[in-house]
């Protein structure tokens, strides 16, 4: 049984090795696709087990719980692993039409699979230090992907990205050191029990703030977000899609995990800060997007503003708000990765990403227009798409506890999201191309490899939007597990006895 927890990690690593060793042959990309498909199967299996049995845990190397490395999957972890596998599969297919042969020869597919393994590991680990290790795996792979075959611009983005992530790492490690000094353990479940016994609760709050900064940088919240728009518009489109979909969400996941399980001793203080951070993140992100004119830069700023909604869900800490945060996480990964994939197709058809300098997509590639509208409207929160339900739950949660002002901000930011999406629509899709180029679909060298993943993710968005009931119920069960971690703790520590 424990192997169901390990397989979503083993498969991407094996795929990475195979794809790297085959980097000079044309079969490398097929290995990547096949490996991602297998990973998807493994994560579906894990999800089925978690749905059936509740929280499951496995001790790596059979070292008992607080001492060894534990892999744990509750509903939140399982759904994050699943959504990572779905996005990874979609992007692996897309990469067949997007990644150049020169990039493949440098080991693109290997790095991509290592990145997937890192993200999956971060979602599955039950140990704070191990989480740090997975962050590093992610960071190394993502730095490699950022600068692969890059020029000056890619290096510039890459250096900013790495520098700020290293600062976050320093905060993270310092926090880990202090927390270990306070409690003598780094296992999440064990920490949840031990932090209650600490006398120096003030110091614990300091440690909590260090983790908030560390994960805040990863999640790109206000005022720590500036590395994101500096880096995400530079690499190849499949890379930026996987970054946009997954990397910041790992930070959000880590925040949710830590601030529901470990640092819930002084909610009045920590979660009030989170609340203000969330509001400012939403507003600054959406305003930043309004000032941009590059397809990917607009989308990058929208990642930030959407992160705000998820943090808001965590900050409110009511059952409904956590439901909203979980729902939002899942919805956002699909939608955002898809928008970046569409930006890639748009670039290929029109020759640019500056929305004022391109156009004509609606006239010559109307199918792409339809595919764009689904995630764009979903992002803005149009019913009946997935984004509507995500925003609805979050706003409902704020209204329930009579935080009118916060609800107003959340709604206003949603409105301004429409502005940016309309800008992309009007400039890139509706108006004619200023240079008279006809962006026809025939220009794509590998049309179906690029369009199928986009269509698949769009269908998923519509499906969640039309059928919100099971997904909301799932998020409710997941939120209940987060707010009452006793199942999580017994699953991890119970195995030791």
């Amino acid at each position: 049984m424990s192997w169901f927890l390990s397989l979503p990690l083993i498969i991407p690593f094996l795929t990475a090795i195979a794809a790297y060793l085959l980097r000079h042959s044309a079969s490398g990309k097929w290995v990547s696709v096949a490996g991602s498909a297998l990973g998807l199967v493994a994560s579906i299996a894990l999800m089925a087990i978690v749905l059936d049995k509740g929280v499951v845990a496995a001790q790596m190397g059979q070292w008992a719980a607080p001492f060894g490395i534990t892999l744990v999957a509750d509903l939140l972890s399982a759904v994050m692993v699943l959504i990572t596998a779905i996005t990874g599969f979609a992007v692996a297919i897309y990469a067949m039409g997007d990644v150049t042969e020169a990039q493949e020869r440098l080991g693109y597919h290997g790095l991509f699979q290592v990145l997937l393994a890192g993200v999956t590991g971060a979602f599955l680990t039950g140990d704070l230090f191990n989480l740090y290790v997975w962050f590093e795996v992610m960071l190394i792979a993502s730095f490699g992907l950022l600068v692969l075959m890059g020029g000056k611009e890619q290096l510039d983005g890459g250096v900013k990205y790495v520098a700020l992530n290293l600062i976050s790492t320093i905060f993270f490690l310092t926090g880990i050191g202090l927390l270990y000094g306070l409690t003598g353990t780094l296992n999440f479940a064990d920490l949840a029990l031990k932090v209650e016994e600490i006398e120096n609760q003030g110091l614990l709050t300091v440690v909590a703030m260090m983790f908030m900064v560390a994960f805040g940088v990863k999640a790109a919240v206000f005022p720590l977000f500036f590395w994101l728009p500096a880096a995400y518009h530079t690499p190849s489109f499949s890379v930026s899609a996987i970054f946009a979909g997954l990397l910041t969400k790992v930070g959000v996941y880590a925040l949710i995990r830590c601030f529901t399980l470990v640092f819930d001793h002084d909610i009045a203080f920590t979660h009030t800060i989170l609340l203000w951070v969330a509001c400012l993140t939403m507003v600054v992100g959406v305003l930043g997007a309004a000032a941009q004119s590059d397809f990917r830069k607009i989308l990058s700023f929208h990642i930030i503003s959407q992160i705000g909604y998820m943090i808001l869900g965590l900050a409110l800490m009511t059952p409904l708000a956590i439901v909203g945060a979980v729902f939002y996480l899942v919805h956002h990964i699909i939608v955002k990765a898809n928008l970046f994939l569409i930006a890639g197709v748009a670039k290929r058809l029109t020759g640019g990403t500056e929305v004022y300098q391109i156009g004509g997509l609606y006239k010559y590639a109307p199918f792409l227009g339809v595919l764009f509208l689904v995630p764009a409207f979903s992002l803005a929160g149009f019913p009946p798409l997935s984004g509507f339900w995500a925003k609805y739950i979050i706003v409902k949660a704020t209204l329930d506890i009579e935080m009118w002002f916060v609800a107003f901000i959340a709604l206003a930011v949603g409105l301004m999201t429409i502005y940016s999406m309309t800008k992309i629509w009007a400039e890139a899709f509706w108006k004619n191309h200023p240079d008279g180029i006809e962006p026809r679909m025939e220009k794509l060298s590998n049309k179906w490899a690029q369009l199928l993943p986009i269509a698949g993710l769009a269908v998923l968005t519509v499906f969640i939007g039309m059928n919100p009931e099971p997904f909301v119920q799932f998020a409710e069960r997941s939120a209940a597990q987060l707010l009452d971690p006793s199942d999580y703790i017994t699953a991890v520590l119970g195995d030791a006895q």
Partner: protein, 139 residues
């Protein structure tokens, strides 16, 4: 750097370092040493060789592309973890085989832990060399 003394010395030094690295790798389980340090020492050997005789010769002496060595090492390390599945244990549970075991002597212990360390050795060797060779060649 073109110096006869360095070139002659480097061949000997590289050989010694690689042999010493294997010694470090094998003693690593119970004494200071192990795959990581062993890999670094072996890499030092090849780096000394590369400085003296050029990276082209060093690459030839290595026989395999350093990136592929690192990839293969990762595979071996992963395999060491997966072997536990055959015995029904969790991922990365160490599996031991004692050759010539008697009542008061454990004999020669062989384990998947050593296999893992060999994997680490190769990962470190490959990774360090692909970085240093790339730097050396771009200077």
């Amino acid at each position: 750097m073109n110096s006869v003394i360095l070139r002659a010395g480097a061949r000997l030094l590289a050989l010694l370092l690689v042999i010493f690295s294997i010694y470090m790798l094998l003693r690593g389980h119970n004494a200071p040493g192990g795959g990581f340090i062993g890999g670094l020492i072996a890499a030092t050997g090849f780096v000394v060789f590369a400085i003296a005789c050029g990276t082209e010769d060093a690459r030839r002496a290595l026989r395999f592309d350093p990136g592929s060595i690192a990839g293969a090492g990762l595979g071996i390390a992963l395999l060491a973890g997966i072997i536990a599945a055959i015995f029904g244990d969790n991922f990365f549970t160490g599996q031991w085989l004692f050759i010539n075991e008697t009542e008061d002597d454990k004999g020669i212990p062989l384990s998947t832990v050593l296999v893992f360390d060999i994997g680490v050795y190769l990962v470190v060797l490959g990774a360090v060399l692909s970085i240093t060779f790339a730097l050396e060649e771009s200077v």
